[in-house]
Structures are given as structure tokens and as C-alpha cells.
């Protein structure tokens, strides 16, 4: 007993930079509080206070993330590195979660899962993402990844009375666990080769111990590639994506689509561009090939879809392919391009999913055909979705254009022009489905709209005029104001940052230069 105490006295915990850690802490505390408040009996407490609390938590976390911007620090004995890259990714996840909370406010999922649990898990997942994005050690990496994933498995299955939800949860869980196991094995091999768990240590070992061509290290890299690729839904490890996106509750899908992708891409950047940068010549072609495959498969797969969520799922696959470009080139520019695109992707996808959600709440389905007449029913939603689709397609004046621009920029500068061409080809194919969605919104089937031919239509046919489009949102009927709010705000951001992208470039370049050791 005594010896134990003595031993305990010898143990000196690592120094903890609480300021840098604060976003993570806030998220954890918020999650716990949400869980606890969720236990209260009052319906108001559960249905209003809990979401409000999570919003507050997310706001606080976001504020802290912004606060820490520009103060890079490696904390807790090398477990985490809170730098600008990590903070930007954290911020994406936070914003995405914020939107998800708003979307979920009056939807089925939190009621089914319990509000406290739902929001608690959501916050835990955000925390997992934050950790993953800033992890500096394979163990932290793995725990972060699981902390991200496990709540999502549960949230996907939250609408337990719906078969699709359960199915998507199970699929996500099993395939996700296969991915995790693969990742573990890969990390084990890398650990085996390098004897290190910290990224810096691995990088050092790889560079100095002549491990570059060692099958053990390379095998490990292969498995890690697959493990990450799975999370980022990179083809051919993407197949869970559409199914899970379709089956999961829409707010969760929105969150998953944006935040998970951000976290997965972040760890791609961090692990490959920090720990394995010395072996770049080996893994870069592989990731480039995966990116190309992903772009093609994602875009092609989305073509014939009838479910909007599925379509967005495939589109997300394709976008993951685009974003891998930044990993492939492994330069500051590449990193910043990926981060920039992640931001763009956040805006576009949240706007799109918000509209999908609103439409689903109203019509009960996410079929593309259910969008018909949305332009009349709710112009604000219709415009938001239109903007989101055009942005995803990369039309100028939207943030998607800026994102693709920077990716192509990075690729061309990084001597990967061919991948830029693939990216462009993918973007072309993508028009095939994005435009169909827009068409479904605005262009009712032939015959119903009055057509302009040479014949002057007799006056008086103006009875059934459409409501104002492009006007103020308050003109619309607002069944779910918070959802419409999310849709409109994010769509507006897509346009605003599409026209004035300089702040984003600025931030992204900070993220790019956060990774030292790159060109």
C-alpha cells in the first residue's frame, strides 16, 4: 500500500495546456450535461433545453476554436496538436453539428433516441472528430476515430422504428468495424516497423532507419490507407455511404456527410503529410489512383438515383475523391486546397440536406420527384437547393467553383495535371445529376407550364401566379423555420464566399502552412 502510494507519488501527469484543449473539454462537458438534462422528466427540458444546451456548447466550442486560431501547440505529451489545420476542421465539425442540431429540432430521431442521448452522442462525435483532426499519435488517432464513429453508428439507427434506419446503423457498424480493424492492424504494422506511436517519431524513424521500401511499413500504410479511405468514403471502400446516408435520419446524414468527411480528410492530411511524408513517392500514386476511381465511381453512381439522399451520398463519394487531391500533392497548397474544399463542401451539403430534410418533413419522402413544385411551395428552400446543387457542380459564383479552382490549382502546381483533368471530367459528369435535381425543382413536366411560343396568350391567364421567388424568406410559408434558416444561411454563404473567397483562402492557407515539413 505504501509502496503503491510512493509509486503514485512518483507519477507525474503530463502537462496539460487547458487553453488549447478547451474546445474538446467544452464538448465533453456539454455532452455530459446534455445527457444528464435529458434525464429530466419535463418535456420542455428534454425537447427544448437539451438542444439549446447543445447549441450553446457548440457555440462555445466554436468560439474557443476561433480563439485558439493562430496559437499552435502540441499538448498532452504529444497526443494532440492543436494547430490551424485542426482548428479549421474542428470548426467545420462544430458548424456542421450546429446545423444538425437545428435540423433535428423537431424531427423524429431525437424523440426516438431520447433528446439527451441524441445530443450527447452528437457532441461526443464532434469531440471525436476534433480529436481525430488534431491527433498526433496513432493511439489518440484510433480512439478519436472510434469516438467519432461509435456515436454515429448509434445515431444512424436512432429511428429504431424504421427499418432503413436500423439497417443503415448495422451496415455502418459492421463495415465500419471492419475498417477499424484494418486500421488497427495497419497501425500495428507501422508501429512494428517504426517502433513509435507518435507521428513525429514515426516520421523520424521512417526517414532515418531506411524503412522506405520495407514491406512491413508499406503493408501498414496500405492497411491505413484503406482504413482512412473507408471513413472518407473513398471508392472502392465507399459502398456503405449511399446506403447509410439514405437510411440514417436526415440531420444525422447531413452531419455525417460533412463533418465525418472533414475529420477523415484531416487525418489523411495529418497522417500522410506528417508521419509518412518521407514515403510520399510510394503512397502518392496509390492515393491518386484511389482519388481518380472515387471521382469516377461517385459521379457515375449518382447518375440514375431517385433518392435525393442517396444521390448526395454518391456525390459525397465523388467530392471525397476531389478532396483527396490535396493529400496526393502533399504540399502546403494541397493541404489548403483540401481544407478550403471541405469548407465549401460543408456549406453546399448542409444547405442541400437542410432542404432535403424540410422537404422530407413535408412530403414524407426524399425522392427527387417529391421536389416537384418546391419552387412554388417554398421558394426559399427551392433557391437554397438550387444554389447548393450549382455549387456542388462547381458553377462560378459559388463556393464550389472556388473549391474546385483551388484543387486544380494545387494539382497543376503539384505536377498532377492528369488528376486535375479527371476532376474536371468528374465535374462534367456530375452536372448530369445535379441539374436533374434543379430541373425537378423548377421545371414541372411538359404540358403543365404555360409555354412561350409566338402566340400571344390572352390576358387574364395570370390567375395562378407563382409566389415571389428570390424575395425575402419571410414571404414563404415556414413550417420549419429553423430548417429553412439553415438552408438559406448556408446557401447564402455558398454564394457570398463564392464571390468573395479571399477570407477562406486566407484561412485555408494558414491551415496549409500548419503542417511543417511540406513544400
Amino acid at each position: 500500500m505504501n509502496s503503491l502510494l510512493i509509486a503514485a507519488a512518483h507519477i507525474k501527469g503530463p502537462h496539460i495546456d487547458w487553453a488549447s484543449l478547451s474546445p474538446v473539454v467544452v464538448l465533453a462537458v456539454g455532452a455530459l450535461v446534455a445527457l444528464l438534462v435529458g434525464l429530466l422528466r419535463g418535456a420542455v427540458a428534454r425537447q427544448q433545453v437539451v438542444p439549446a444546451l447543445s447549441l450553446v456548447t457548440l457555440l462555445a466550442a466554436g468560439a474557443l476554436e476561433i480563439w485558439r486560431f493562430g496559437h499552435p501547440a502540441t499538448i498532452i505529451h504529444g497526443a494532440l496538436r492543436i494547430d490551424d489545420l485542426a482548428l479549421l476542421i474542428d470548426l467545420i465539425c462544430t458548424v456542421s453539428a450546429f446545423a444538425a442540431v437545428l435540423l433535428a429540432w423537431r424531427s423524429e430521431a431525437p424523440r426516438d433516441a431520447g433528446h439527451g442521448e441524441f445530443h450527447g452522442l452528437l457532441l461526443f462525435s464532434v469531440m471525436g472528430m476534433a480529436i481525430l483532426a488534431s491527433s498526433q499519435d496513432v493511439i489518440t488517432l484510433f480512439v478519436g476515430l472510434e469516438l467519432l464513429s461509435i456515436p454515429l453508428y448509434i445515431l444512424c439507427a436512432a429511428e429504431y422504428r424504421r427499418e432503413g434506419s436500423l439497417e443503415s446503423g448495422l451496415k455502418y457498424l459492421i463495415i465500419g468495424s471492419v475498417g477499424s480493424a484494418t486500421l488497427v492492424y495497419g497501425l500495428a504494422m507501422i508501429y512494428g516497423a517504426s517502433g513509435q506511436t507518435g507521428f513525429a517519431g514515426i516520421a523520424h524513424a521512417v526517414a532515418t532507419h531506411n524503412l522506405l521500401g520495407d514491406p512491413l511499413l508499406l503493408g501498414g500504410i496500405a492497411l491505413v490507407v484503406v482504413g482512412f479511405a473507408f471513413k472518407a468514403s473513398v471508392a472502392p471502400f465507399h459502398q456503405w455511404t449511399p446506403d447509410v446516408y439514405e437510411g440514417a435520419p436526415t440531420p444525422i446524414t447531413a452531419f455525417m456527410a460533412t463533418a465525418t468527411k472533414a475529420a477523415a480528410l484531416a487525418i489523411f492530411l495529418r497522417f500522410f503529410d506528417v508521419a509518412l511524408i518521407a514515403d510520399k513517392t510510394t503512397w502518392s500514386p496509390m492515393i491518386a489512383a484511389l482519388a481518380a476511381i472515387t471521382i469516377v465511381v461517385g459521379n457515375v453512381g449518382a447518375l440514375g438515383q431517385t433518392s435525393l439522399k442517396r444521390l448526395l451520398g454518391f456525390s459525397g463519394v465523388a467530392q471525397a475523391g476531389y478532396m483527396l487531391s490535396g493529400v496526393v500533392v502533399a504540399t502546403h497548397l494541397g493541404v489548403s486546397a483540401t481544407v478550403l474544399y471541405l469548407w465549401a463542401y460543408l456549406g453546399m451539403n448542409v444547405a442541400a440536406f437542410a432542404v432535403v430534410h424540410a422537404n422530407q418533413l413535408e412530403t414524407g419522402t426524399d425522392r427527387i420527384s417529391a421536389l416537384q413544385g418546391l419552387g412554388k411551395r417554398s421558394p426559399a428552400l427551392a433557391w437554397s437547393l438550387t444554389v447548393a446543387m450549382l455549387a456542388l457542380a462547381g458553377i462560378p459564383g459559388t463556393i464550389g467553383f472556388i473549391g474546385k479552382f483551388q484543387l486544380i490549382h494545387a494539382l497543376v502546381s503539384g505536377n498532377h495535371s492528369w488528376l486535375a483533368i479527371v476532376l474536371v471530367v468528374g465535374a462534367m459528369i456530375s452536372l448530369g445529376y445535379y441539374l436533374k435535381v434543379v430541373a425537378a425543382i423548377w421545371m414541372s413536366p411538359a404540358g403543365s407550364a404555360s409555354e412561350i411560343s409566338g402566340v400571344p396568350v390572352p390576358a387574364g391567364a395570370a390567375a395562378g401566379l407563382a409566389p415571389i421567388a428570390g424575395g425575402a424568406p419571410e414571404a414563404d410559408r415556414l413550417p420549419y423555420p429553423e430548417v429553412v434558416f439553415v438552408a438559406v444561411v448556408f446557401a447564402a454563404l455558398c454564394i457570398i464566399f463564392g464571390i468573395l473567397p479571399q477570407p477562406l483562402f486566407h484561412l485555408a492557407s494558414h491551415a496549409g502552412s500548419a503542417l511543417r515539413g511540406l513544400l
Binding site: P396, F401, V425, W442, P445, A446, V455, L465, F505
Partner: protein, 518 residues
């Protein structure tokens, strides 16, 4: 007055107009569109034709980290096209305002957006800005076709947008690559403005593929054979005012792009691919002529004739001779006016043929509509480039340019001239003459129709009397634009330093633009 005002005003005015009660929007939009027109005339009047460089320059750093500039400017290449754009949009809006249009707010909004985008594309002096405006043009037309079109409009609009966007995306990649590679190869900071790229060297192989990217976008947009797959469906489906401006100015943006962007910036590639482009132009002329020969659809006759005309325009540009370039530029102006007029006339004719646009349902319309017939005739003669029309001067100079660079291509291309006479007249006769068609109820041109057609016909007549209008402003700019490409081969062979000529031209333009902007 800043160019920004000119290009953004249509959008702003459209937004203002949509705040009015639905029944006033059309008229308000039409009236308001006279403001940009007046501004454009003002610019035209203040334009100094003797200067080859930019005038009225607006240059702001837009995205500083990428060296993308918000740079607008007018030179001899775009000054007339800007005027044409404002004219055609005014007329299209006037035409629309007299008709009942469902969802007028969106309709006029899209028109305003389209006008802003087109004006932006014409004035943009930065690669990325140009690409952005070029793609932005697509959006309003996508909606205009898809929501207010006829027939298989959704399919048609998606087809159109995908086709054209394929080109634009390739152009985007090419544009980015151009900026980056120029910066890399010269060790200069990123800068996408035309003037910056024009006087820096770019390796020949890079020039080649970048040029092809641009060419793809432009060729699809015009369109030329074999990139015209979207044309028939889209033109068939477009509402008349939309097709008038689309065919009138949007397709010109592409041709203009060759002159303003592709040739001066990538002169070696332009020189290198001259034969290819000439052959494509020739193929388009012949192919479209053959198509226009056979189709019974009046609208497609005009559509294909416009493909043939675009073929001539490209022929002129890629003659890489000043005459050809001048002719091409004049022909853009002419064709813009004429094709828009043709579509409005077609609408009037279709209104008399029971709404049908098939030549089978027309015939004998001239009798009770002599004024319409006269207008149609004038348009037809202009369309077939009859000597005496301004179109003839355009074709004359184009062919002269082509003749002096590749004689046989010019000679074969004249087949298109003869063919045009046949199909254009066939359309006129089929619609206006011969026995009365089954569903025809002829009546004289009414005030509403005249509102659109008469001004265009007057412009056609005015240009016919004084085609110099379209030539006088552009000579210096065309020479400057073509000179590097014309020299492309010779200095490549001699291994002389790159692009001495443009360097001085750019320097000259810089000095003049400074003075002009003040």
C-alpha cells in the same frame, strides 16, 4: 462611369423590377433595360478607336492569394458586342413584356442575370473572371429553357448545359493551368489577367493543351460541328426571346473568346492548330448547310444557318489575318442582329401558322402581311449575306482573310455561301409564298411584334449602308490580337525571343489604359 455599373446594372434592375406587381414587371424590365443600353451607347461614343489597348479599365485585385483580378475593360474587340448585347436584351425584353408569361418574376430575373453574365464575359479581362462569367451565362439559360421552353425542354436544357459545361470545365482547367504554368515558368507571382499572361512565355506543349481546352469550350458554345449535338433540341425548346439572345450574343462570346483570349494568349498553339480549326470551321459550314437544306423545321433552319455562320466566323479568326479577324468581328455583330431578328420573325410567322414552326404548315403568309413579308425578306437577305448587306462585308472579309491564308479552304467555304442562299430563301418562300398552308391565318404585323422586329430590321438596314461602323472601332485591336498568332510560326522557327510584338502592344495598352481609366 465604371464598367461595373454597366455589367451589374441589368441584374440589379431585374431585381428591382421583380419587386413590382406581377403585371408590371415585364414593361418595367423592358423600359429599365434601356438604361444599360444608353450606358453602352455612351461607352461606344467615348471609345477611341485608334487605341489598340484597353479603355475604361476597372482593375481590382479580387482574390489576392491567387492573383485573380476583377478586371474589366473595353477594347475594339468587345465594344460593339457590348452594344449588341444591350440592344438584343432590350428588344427581347420588349418582346416578352407584351406577352403573358408565367412566373414573371423568375423569368425577368433570369433575363437580368443572363445579361449581366454576358456583359461580364465580354468585358472580363482576367482569365478566371472570364471563365466565371462564361459559365454563369449557362445558369439563366438553363432555367429559361427548362421552365419556359416548349416540348422536351427539361431534357433539352440538361443536354445543353452538360454539353456546354463540359467545354467550360475544360476551359476552367486550362485557364487555371495557364495562370499557374505561366507563373511557374517565368517565376512570377500568380496573375490571371490577360495582359499579364500575354507577355510572359509559356512552353509550347503547355500552350497546346491549354489552347485545346479553351477551344473545346468555345466550339461547343458556338457550336461548331461536331460539337453541335445539343443545338437542335435546345434551340427547339427555347422560348423565342431566349433563343434570340442566345443565338445572338451568347454564341458570340465564344467566338469573341478566341479573339480576346485564345489567340493573343496562346499564339503558338493558335498557329499550330490553325489548320485544325479551319477544317472544323469548314466542316461546320458544309455540314450545317447540308442540315439546313433538308430540315423542314423553320427554327432549325435558322439554327443551322447560325452554325454555318459561326463556322465562317471561326474561319475568319483562324485565317490569322487582320482582314479575316475584322470580318469575323463584323460578322459577329451582324449575325447577332440578324439571327435575333430571324427568330422574332419566326415567332410572328408561327403565330400565323397555327403555332407551328414546321414549314409544312406554313405558306402564303405574305399576302395579308406585306410588312412582315418585307421584314422577313430583309432578314433573309441579310442572313444569306447578300452583297449590300453588312453580312456580306463580314463574309467578304472573312473569306478574303481565309483566301490569303489558305486559298482552297476559302474556295470550298464559298459553297456555304451558295447553300445559304438556297436554304434561307427556301425558308422565306416556304413560309411567305406559295399556296396558303392549311392552318395559316395571316394577318399584318402588329404593334407588339413590330416592337421587336422593326428596330432590328432598322439596325440591319443601317449596318448595310454603313458596315464601317463595325469595322472602324476594331482595326487596331484586331491587329494586336492576331499579330502574335500570325507570327507564331515564324519566330518559332527562327528561335527568336518570345512574343516581342505583344510585349510592346501590352505596354502600349497599359499606358493608354491608365490614361483612359483616369
Amino acid at each position: 462611369m465604371s464598367l461595373s455599373i454597366l455589367i451589374w446594372l441589368p441584374l440589379v434592375l431585374a431585381l428591382l423590377a421583380t419587386q413590382l406587381p406581377a403585371r408590371h414587371i415585364g414593361r418595367a424590365s423592358a423600359l429599365l433595360s434601356l438604361i444599360p443600353l444608353a450606358i453602352a451607347i455612351d461607352f461606344m461614343a467615348r471609345f477611341k478607336p485608334s487605341v489598340s489597348g484597353l479603355q475604361f479599365v476597372t482593375d481590382k485585385l479580387w482574390i489576392s492569394s491567387l492573383g485573380i483580378h476583377y478586371k474589366l475593360g473595353i477594347n475594339g474587340l468587345n465594344v460593339a458586342l457590348i452594344l449588341l448585347t444591350t440592344v438584343l436584351f432590350s428588344i427581347s425584353l420588349a418582346w416578352s413584356s407584351q406577352r403573358e408569361i408565367s412566373r414573371p418574376r423568375q423569368y425577368y430575373f433570369h433575363f437580368g442575370l443572363a445579361q449581366s453574365a454576358v456583359l461580364g464575359a465580354f468585358t472580363a479581362q482576367d482569365l478566371i473572371l472570364f471563365v466565371a462569367f462564361f459559365d454563369l451565362m449557362l445558369i439563366p439559360f438553363y432555367f429559361l429553357v427548362g421552365s419556359w421552353g416548349s416540348g422536351e425542354r427539361v431534357r433539352a436544357t440538361i443536354k445543353m448545359v452538360i454539353y456546354t459545361a463540359v467545354g467550360s470545365f475544360l476551359m476552367l482547367a486550362a485557364a487555371i493551368a495557364a495562370g499557374i504554368l505561366v507563373a511557374h515558368q517565368n517565376g512570377t507571382p500568380l496573375n490571371f489577367s490577360f495582359s499579364a499572361i500575354a507577355h510572359l512565355r509559356l512552353s509550347y506543349t503547355d500552350q497546346d493543351w491549354i489552347f485545346l481546352g479553351f477551344a473545346a469550350a468555345f466550339l461547343v458554345k458556338m457550336p461548331l460541328t461536331p460539337f453541335h449535338g445539343w443545338l437542335a433540341d435546345a434551340y427547339k425548346s427555347m422560348p423565342i426571346p431566349a433563343v434570340a439572345v442566345f443565338s445572338g450574343v451568347v454564341s458570340k462570346v465564344a467566338a469573341y473568346g478566341f479573339l480576346q483570349v485564345a489567340l493573343p494568349l496562346f499564339p503558338h498553339a493558335a498557329h499550330h492548330f490553325q489548320m485544325l480549326m479551319l477544317l472544323i470551321a469548314l466542316l461546320s459550314i458544309l455540314w450545317a448547310t447540308a442540315m439546313a437544306f433538308t430540315t423542314r423545321d423553320a427554327r432549325l433552319v435558322i439554327a443551322y444557318s447560325s452554325v454555318a455562320q459561326m463556322g465562317f466566323i471561326v474561319l475568319g479568326i483562324f485565317s490569322l489575318k487582320a482582314t479575316g479577324g475584322q470580318g469575323a468581328l463584323l460578322q459577329m455583330l451582324n449575325h447577332g442582329v440578324v439571327t435575333a431578328a430571324a427568330f422574332f420573325v419566326l415567332a410572328a410567322v408561327a403565330a400565323r401558322a397555327g403555332g407551328s414552326e414546321s414549314m409544312d404548315d406554313m405558306g402564303g403568309i405574305a399576302f395579308r402581311a406585306p410588312v412582315l413579308a418585307t421584314f422577313f425578306l430583309i432578314v433573309t437577305f441579310a442572313n444569306l449575306a447578300m452583297p449590300g448587306s453588312s453580312n456580306f462585308i463580314g463574309e467578304f472579309m472573312i473569306l478574303l482573310g481565309a483566301f490569303s491564308s489558305h486559298m482552297w479552304i476559302a474556295i470550298v467555304a464559298t459553297l456555304g455561301v451558295v447553300g445559304a442562299a438556297f436554304y434561307a430563301l427556301r425558308l422565306f418562300i416556304g413560309a411567305m409564298h406559295n399556296r396558303v398552308g392549311g392552318r395559316v391565318q395571316s394577318f399584318e404585323l402588329n404593334r407588339i411584334e413590330a416592337l421587336a422586329i422593326a428596330p432590328l430590321v432598322l439596325i440591319i438596314l443601317a449596318l448595310a449602308l454603313y458596315p464601317q461602323f463595325g469595322l472602324s472601332k476594331s482595326q487596331a485591336s484586331v491587329r494586336a490580337a492576331l499579330a502574335p498568332a500570325t507570327l507564331g510560326g515564324s519566330y518559332a522557327a527562327a528561335g527568336k525571343p518570345h512574343r516581342v510584338y505583344t510585349h510592346t502592344a501590352a505596354a502600349a495598352s497599359a499606358s493608354t489604359s491608365n490614361s483612359a481609366s483616369r
